[in-house]
């Protein structure tokens, strides 16, 4: 290495230093702390709040024996599958596909409508849906005006209710991602296929989908990670209840840490949540055989 390039390296290190330090303090530090706390019996109140002890893998053993943890994992997977993978991803793609090459005004109007759900803050979305699904909410008012029985939606179908709300809130993101990548599919290939007599469905499956495979994976990962972390929406709509019926892992973690006062156990759950996110991402990348 010559002097000039060494000077450049030094200079770039110097300029990168502030961001490294910030990352270390606000990102790496908390992660390491989480890792450490998850092996302790740190509590919010009681003697362990003052003097925590290292408990090894106790938190994790407790977790895997805890029936509520198993319930939460099931609920998380259901929530993820229904609201993210099926709901947002498929609906988002469908919207983008149907809007492809349509007239600009039409695209713009539909786009604004869908994106309105996305730009609305999560807590507002939650309140809108509570107002809509509530005992005396809009939906029941509509049912009543048709002479139908009212349903306590948030108590009879709690998981479906939060899934629908999450789909409404998040679909725009998938739609935007797919819109961008669908525009990149070369028109010439499509036209060539059409001349060869391929049907619309064949073009979609054989040409468009393989071309946008990369975006599907990226979007799947982003949507999965986003959905795994959804807390506000569920907590404000149902509080994780009734009972445990919408208690996904973030809610379970919050309950253990801040309702049951077991901070150590709570952080252990958050670590598992992180692992699930990593595993899911790796799985997508592997199964679709793409490079990111």
């Amino acid at each position: 290495m010559n002097t000039a390039s060494r000077a450049i390296t030094l200079r770039s290190i110097f300029f990168l230093l502030p961001s490294w330090i910030l990352l270390l303090i606000f990102f790496i530090g908390p992660i390491l702390l989480t890792f450490y706390f998850s092996f302790t019996d740190l509590a919010l109140t009681g003697a362990q709040a003052q003097q925590m002890a290292f408990v090894g893998f106790d938190n994790f053993i407790e977790m895997f024996q805890d029936p509520n943890f198993r319930i939460s994992v099931t609920k998380t997977i259901l929530f993820l599958f229904i609201s993210a993978i099926i709901g947002q991803q498929v609906l988002g793609f469908l919207l983008a596909y149907l809007m492809k090459e349509k007239n600009t005004t039409f695209r713009r109007i539909i786009g604004i409508v869908v994106i309105a759900g996305w730009v609305t803050p999560e807590i507002v979305v939650a309140f809108c849906w509570v107002a809509f699904l509530n005992d005396s909410g809009t939906l029941n008012a509509i049912l009543q005006s048709f002479g139908l029985e009212t349903i306590t939606w948030l108590y009879t179908f709690p998981l479906i209710s939060v899934c629908v709300a999450n789909i409404w809130h998040g679909t725009a993101f998938s739609m935007l991602v797919f819109q961008a990548s669908l525009d990149d599919v070369p028109k010439t290939i499509e036209e060539a296929a059409m001349i060869d007599g391929a049907s619309k469905l064949q073009i979609l499956i054989r040409i468009i989908l393989p071309t946008v495979k990369g975006s599907i994976v990226t979007n799947m990962i982003l949507v999965t990670l986003q959905t795994l972390g959804v807390f506000t929406l569920i907590y404000a709509m149902t509080g994780g209840g009734p009972g445990t019926s919408t208690q996904t892992l973030p809610i379970f973690m919050y309950n253990q840490a801040f309702v049951n006062y077991q901070l150590g156990y709570g952080t252990a759950i958050s670590l598992v949540l992180l692992l699930i996110g990593v595993i899911a991402s790796l799985f997508y990348i592997r199964s679709m055989k793409v490079q990111i």
């Binding site: 919010l44 005992d135 509080g239 009972g243």
Partner: protein, 467 residues
């Protein structure tokens, strides 16, 4: 070339903006300090006293009135320079304790006085959040006036005193005389066992159908400690199996009583004798029941505390002049009428000083002023709870309050929550299991099974026993 100049101008502009912003931010701090000294926490700390308690949904309206109308004016007479600030937490009962624990962890956020439910005193004290008051109490003549049983609630396992109680309570069955009479239940109602309660509720359901909620018990996680104490423990302590065995110093994690208590709750909801889940699992459940349904004549029986009368008097949150004639307050019977025939639970609240308060001496002066029999009488006239002072209990003004005779008589067979570390954690297990039973996620037997597993996990295998 032109584009480069444009970029430079833009960069310079951004830099200037950045500098202006940072300057503005830092300025606001120092300016506030020099121009408005009273707002600077460091300089004004000895003149400001903050009090934290739970509010929201008209909770603690009686306490707020009392502080604003009585205690603070009197305190300001002697300490005119002190600015007493109420800093209420508008949260559900379930969230209050976690919020308080977080507040008390830092000097920047800790108030100077905090209201503590006595069941949290032990655990907040062992966490180091509260200031031991022993030395201060020694040189104070007010402490002897407090009833001895109530004092136990504020003494932690280390033997120190961490708060001055301002109320205690009992629980029983509120019932609407007219509704029960119309349903063919004889009034005054004196249920002798759990079956009597269920039968009365069934009679109400048969008579009024969906127009009246036959029986209300707090049943959700959101209502927090109210679910554990007003519902589950009121039932459990009517069986022969309490939560904790003081002789063995162990938690009873398996007993017939546990299964039966869960079964009773399950029966109420299975038979459609309870309210809608959307009402009862709500954090504001108690307000819905006692500020709306009961005054509207839409609730027949409610298992709850005597403080609910605080809602209905003329300064309450839901004034209801006829409540004295319309309602009755029956003692909660034991399961089969087994000895002593009735049961109740008592808790209470205390004023404590956080260990990280920056104004402890003044806080103690305030607590002393608020903790006299005269002041406490005023509180109970507003808040309608049982006074921890013998003198107040003998006062005719207090004795004449509606339902105080009944409520005080329940003290005879009352029980206290286990005053041991980990009770708060066990309590949250109870809340979550009750909600799961109510929503049919698990059966009463499964709930009892899970209670054993989860409580063992919390207290340790060496501190449990089966019966």
């Amino acid at each position: 070339m032109d584009r480069n100049i444009g970029k430079k101008v833009l960069l310079a502009g951004l830099l200037i903006l950045l500098i202006l912003f940072t300057a503005a931010c830092s300025n606001s701090d120092s300016d506030a300090g020099s121009t408005d000294k009273e707002n600077d926490p460091k300089k004004a700390k000895n003149n400001e006293l903050t009090i934290t308690f739970r509010s929201g949904g008209s909770t603690n309206q009686g306490l707020i009135n009392w502080l604003n109308d009585m205690v603070i004016p009197k305190f300001n007479e002697e300490n005119p320079e002190v600015n007493v600030q109420l800093s209420p937490l508008e949260v559900s009962e379930g969230d209050y304790f976690a919020k308080v624990a977080l507040l008390l962890q830092s000097e920047d956020t800790a108030p100077d006085i905090v209201t503590e439910d006595t069941f949290m005193v032990n655990s907040d004290a062992s966490a180091g959040y509260l200031e031991a008051l022993d030395d201060r109490i020694e040189s104070w003549d007010g402490w002897d006036k407090v009833t001895d049983t109530v004092k136990k609630g504020v003494i932690a396992e280390d033997g120190n005193i961490y708060g001055v109680p301002y109320n205690t309570d009992t629980r029983g069955l509120w019932y609407n005389k007219e509704l029960l009479a119309d349903a063919g239940v004889s009034v005054p109602w004196e249920p002798k066992n759990w079956d009597d309660i269920i039968n009365a509720a069934k009679a109400v359901k048969e008579t009024f159908g969906d127009d009246v909620v036959p029986m209300w018990m707090n049943s959700g996680k959101a209502t927090g400690e109210a679910t554990s104490m007003q519902t589950f423990e009121m039932l459990l302590y009517g069986t022969d199996d309490p939560l904790y065995d003081y002789e063995e110093e162990k938690w009873i994690v398996k007993s017939d009583g546990l299964v039966d208590a869960f079964k009773f709750i399950d029966t109420i909801y299975e038979e459609g004798l309870g309210p809608n889940l959307s009402q009862v699992l709500n954090g504001q459940g108690s307000s819905i029941a006692y500020q709306q349904l009961m005054p509207e004549g839409k609730l027949a029986i409610g298992l709850d505390g005597m403080w609910q009368t605080g809602n209905w008097h003329e300064n309450g949150s839901a004034p209801w002049p006829e409540f004295e004639d319309k309602l009755g307050f029956a003692a909660m019977p034991t399961q089969d009428g087994n000895d002593p025939g009735t049961t109740s639970m008592s808790g209470g609240w205390a004023l404590s000083i956080p260990a990280k308060s920056d104004n402890k001496d003044l806080a103690w002066e305030f607590i002393k002023m608020a903790s006299t029999p005269e002041m406490n009488l005023e509180l109970q006239l507003n808040d309608r709870n049982i006074s921890p002072y013998k003198e107040v209990a003998e006062n005719p003004k207090y004795q004449e309050l509606p339902f105080f005779e009944e409520a005080t008589s329940f003290l005879e067979n009352t029980n206290f929550r286990p005053a041991v570390d980990k009770y708060p954690n066990v309590s949250t297990v109870i809340q979550s299991l009750v909600e799961q039973v109510v929503t049919d996620a698990i059966s009463p037997e499964e709930a009892a099974e899970q209670y054993k597993v989860q409580v063992t996990e919390i207290v340790g295998a060496d501190k449990i026993m089966e019966k």
